[in-house]
Amino acid sequence: MTNFFLIIGVGMCVLVLACLYRVTRGPDVLNRAVGLSAIGTKTLIILLLMGVIYDRVEMFIDISMVYALLNFIGTLVLAKYLERTGEV
């Protein structure tokens, strides 16, 4: 079962690298923001998988919860800032 979670985690890391293409080569700043949001969502699952693999879920679950909150607030603040300044 640990091997299965390890394989899923490695596949998720490959997907994060694929999303990094959109972050670096995005035509404007909004595409980069969408790529960052997608990367944050995948990182949340990767953190939980690390907790399951290392058998310390009770520590990693709190980190994952804080990461979800920070990802949401960061995307919201970035959207508000871009809407206010109008430099899209």
């Binding site: 079962m1 299965f4 979670f5 899923i8 596949g11 998720m12 997907l15 694929a18 999303c19 293409y21 959109r22 404007d28 909004l30 595409n31 923001a33 969408v34 790529g35 949001s37 997608a38 969502t41 995948k42 949340l44 699952i45 939980l48 998988l49 399951v52 879920v57 009770e58 679950i61 709190d62 994952s64 919860m65 979800a68 909150l69 949401f72 995307t75 919201l76 970035l78 959207a79 508000k80 871009l82 809407e83 109008g86 430099e87 899209v88």
Partner: protein
């Protein structure tokens, strides 16, 4: 192998499939709104399926309750973030992608 592990594996595989679909849409679709549509809905469903799989694997404990809390929060937060960033793009004047110039269809209609 327990039936709990089988259910967990099925949910995790479904979540990974939707993660892959959302990433392909983010990379391949032609427009900002289309990419947002792919990643906004696909990632939400994938997170929900993956968290359900992990909660089934951990059994009924405080960890599972926290995982369900994260799932509920993501189900509220992800569409909100998608809506906010889409509204920023729309008010900033990003033009939507159109498939075909309109002169072509008008010309075909005129020939008939």
């Amino acid at each position: 192998m327990l039936i709990k592990d089988v259910a967990s594996i099925l949910f995790m595989l479904a979540g990974f499939f939707f993660f892959t679909t959302a990433t392909l849409g983010l990379l391949r679709l032609p427009d900002f709104y289309a990419r947002l549509h792919a990643t906004g809905k696909g990632d939400t469903l994938a997170v929900l399926l993956s968290l359900i799989g992990l909660a089934i694997y951990n059994g009924f404990s405080l960890i599972s309750i926290k995982i369900v809390f994260i799932a509920v929060f993501m189900f509220l937060a992800q569409p909100t973030a998608t809506h906010a960033i889409s509204r920023a793009a729309y008010r900033g004047g990003v033009p939507p992608w159109v498939n075909e110039p309109e002169g072509n269809t008008v010309e075909q209609g005129g020939e008939k």
